[in-house]
Amino acid sequence: MSTELLPQLARRPASPQDSPRPVAGAGPYTLAFRRLRRDRVSLAFGAVFLVITAMCLAAPLYAHHIAHTGPADNHVTDTVRIGGQTRDVVSPDGLPIGPTWHGRFFLGADQNGRDIAVRLLYGGRNSLEIGFVATAITMILATLTGGVAGYFRGPVDSVLARVLDLIWAFPVVLLGIALGTSLALGGINLGLFTLSGNSLLVPAVIIGFVYIPYVAKPVRGQVLALREREFVDAARLQGLGTLRILWSEVLPNLASTLIVFVPLMIANAILLEAGLSYLGAGVQPPNPSWGTMIADGIALLPSAIHLTLVPGAMLVLAVLGINVFGDGVRDALDPHSPIRLGH
């Protein structure tokens, strides 16, 4: 019989007689890591995201040593010398200068005479910070609610599932701007937990909150299946407590699902932040973010396209980087995983 007819024979794992010496076993994460390491495209895009993050973290260095201006400093009446010519930063009819490709106003200025490159880096810090914090909030709360609902079932599950349904049926952007507008005015005051309205954490908390059902529902489904497995029964019979079982038996089996969600969530959080800021319900001025910068640019559109293009390109590049990298991570962990995120 030829192995071509039965391909599964050809791919059958090597039996002990085949290999002269024992091969060290590799765990699922080691295998996933090896697959990811071979995926050059995903690694390259992941590197793009890392480079952008590093550049944004270095924003104060750029501001102090190269541009010599801060993200909120206006230079409306200033002039710059480029190639021996003196030019207005903002022309008398209100048009900001385009890219100079020099230290000051490397990427041009906005209508308030603020340095676009400096604002781009500081804005990136804010956009990325919101992305990371919102993702952390979503992942922690979704794992808790999904895990508890799936493990305890019964009335606990009914209540939590209804709450998740409620958040899920709420249109994401509408809920986001309603909360954003309301909180930007009033802030949050829940006893120990206080936030002022213009804090960066306000959009982060809102975005983290609205995405909870998208992660909690699949987590709940997985936990419902996991709790019936033999190793959970074994742990229960050994006399382990509920918390211990959830922590050391259930959680490790959820890990790959959770890992796959993290890059997706970061990308979606950054995009939602941009959307909320465009509608005025995200990061509050004068604090820059990629979303607010794009929104400011669109308001001035036909005259100064660089105000839209520069932050737009940066945002798309960062989100694209983390999205492609996330795809690679998913493929590496489980080539057949059906996970995807809504919008």
């Binding site: 049926a169 809920l175 507008t181 509608l279 737009g312 999205n323 919008h343």
Partner: protein
């Protein structure tokens, strides 16, 4: 089936009541957000503010205010705080634009997503597949308002191929309607085309390795026939479910950004303006209308799914 409808109807009502309460509370919790002061305008005396507070019922306990607002919603008499116009009339005015946008974009992203997904799967690993994947990833990573603004700048302002935003009713001029809707449709569907083509591609590739496909090949069917008659029928079912939910989300407020950037004066844009003005009644009605649509269409989607795939049971 009857049991399913009854259960879903009850849970829909419960979700809608909860959503209306939550929306009401979000705005009620705003400090300095006294609606009476805003209704009275800038140059008002304390007496007028007090009078307005009394006639509109803002001096009543919060649950009375909520019940009064809900009564007005259902009798069609709900009035906005800022412009003091009937909210339902405003929504009716915006609805044609929102529905034109959602339905047109929905059709485009469904068919374009399926087409590109099938092409990518048929050429899996090849150049076409890679190029389509790249385009899909860019579509998924670009905010819709940025895409819309760039389309307006290059295609409407620079090249004058398309009008610079705005909405023309279908009933008044179908040609102009189409001409004005093309860019918003494309901008809104870009994200979904990216998602759908990726999902369909992996569905097709997964189905390709199933036993019935091997059987079909063994029968001697052509690859084309296997792809369209056997594989695609199975792979499209999850896409139908996705489409129902995404379409509902777009009608229920997901098109706010597209409507705003193209200035379509739809329901979403009305919601965005009302939220900015802290005008509770329109937001309340639009959010309820939107979530009702989400819940309703998800139930319809479940029924359609059970119809398409007999293995699915309605609970």
């Amino acid at each position: 089936m009857a049991r399913f409808i009854v259960r879903r109807s009850i849970s829909t009502v419960v979700v809608l009541i909860a959503i209306s309460i939550v929306t009401f509370l979000i705005f009620e919790a705003i400090p300095n957000g006294d609606p009476a002061a805003r209704l009275a305008g800038r140059t008002s005396t304390p007496e007028t503010v007090a009078a307005i507070r009394h006639t509109w019922g803002f001096d009543k306990p919060i649950y009375d205010q909520y019940l009064l607002t809900m009564k007005n919603v259902f009798t069609g008499k709900v009035i906005s705080y800022t412009q003091q116009v009937n909210v339902l009339d405003q929504i009716k005015e915006g609805l044609p634009a929102t529905l034109s946008l959602a339905i047109g974009a929905g059709i485009i992203w469904l068919f374009a997503g399926i087409l590109l997904g099938v092409v990518a799967a048929a050429r899996a690993g090849g150049f076409t597949d890679r190029a389509l994947t790249a385009v899909a990833m860019i579509g998924v990573s670009t905010p819709v308002f940025l895409l819309g603004a760039l389309m307006l700048y290059f295609l409407a302002y620079k090249l004058s191929w398309f009008p610079n935003g705005g909405y023309v009713p279908l009933t008044s001029n179908p040609g102009e309607w189409l001409y004005h809707m093309i860019l918003p449709w494309l901008a809104l569907s870009a994200l979904f085309i990216g998602i759908y083509s990726r999902v369909l591609r992996s569905n097709v590739l997964d189905t390709m390795s199933e036993d019935f496909v091997r059987t079909a090949r063994a029968k001697g069917l052509t690859e084309r026939r296997i792809l369209f008659r056997h594989v695609l029928r199975n792979s499209v079912i999850p896409i139908a479910a996705l489409w129902g939910l995404d379409f509902a989300a777009v009608v229920g407020g997901g098109a706010i950004l597209t409507e705003s950037v193209f200035n379509l004066h739809g329901v979403g844009q009305y919601a965005a303006q009302s939220i900015g003005a802290l005008d509770v009644p329109p937001v309340l009605v639009i959010v309820m209308f939107g979530s009702f649509f989400v819940v309703l269409l998800s139930a319809v989607t479940d029924v359609v799914m059970a119809f398409l795939d007999p293995r699915i049971k309605l609970l």
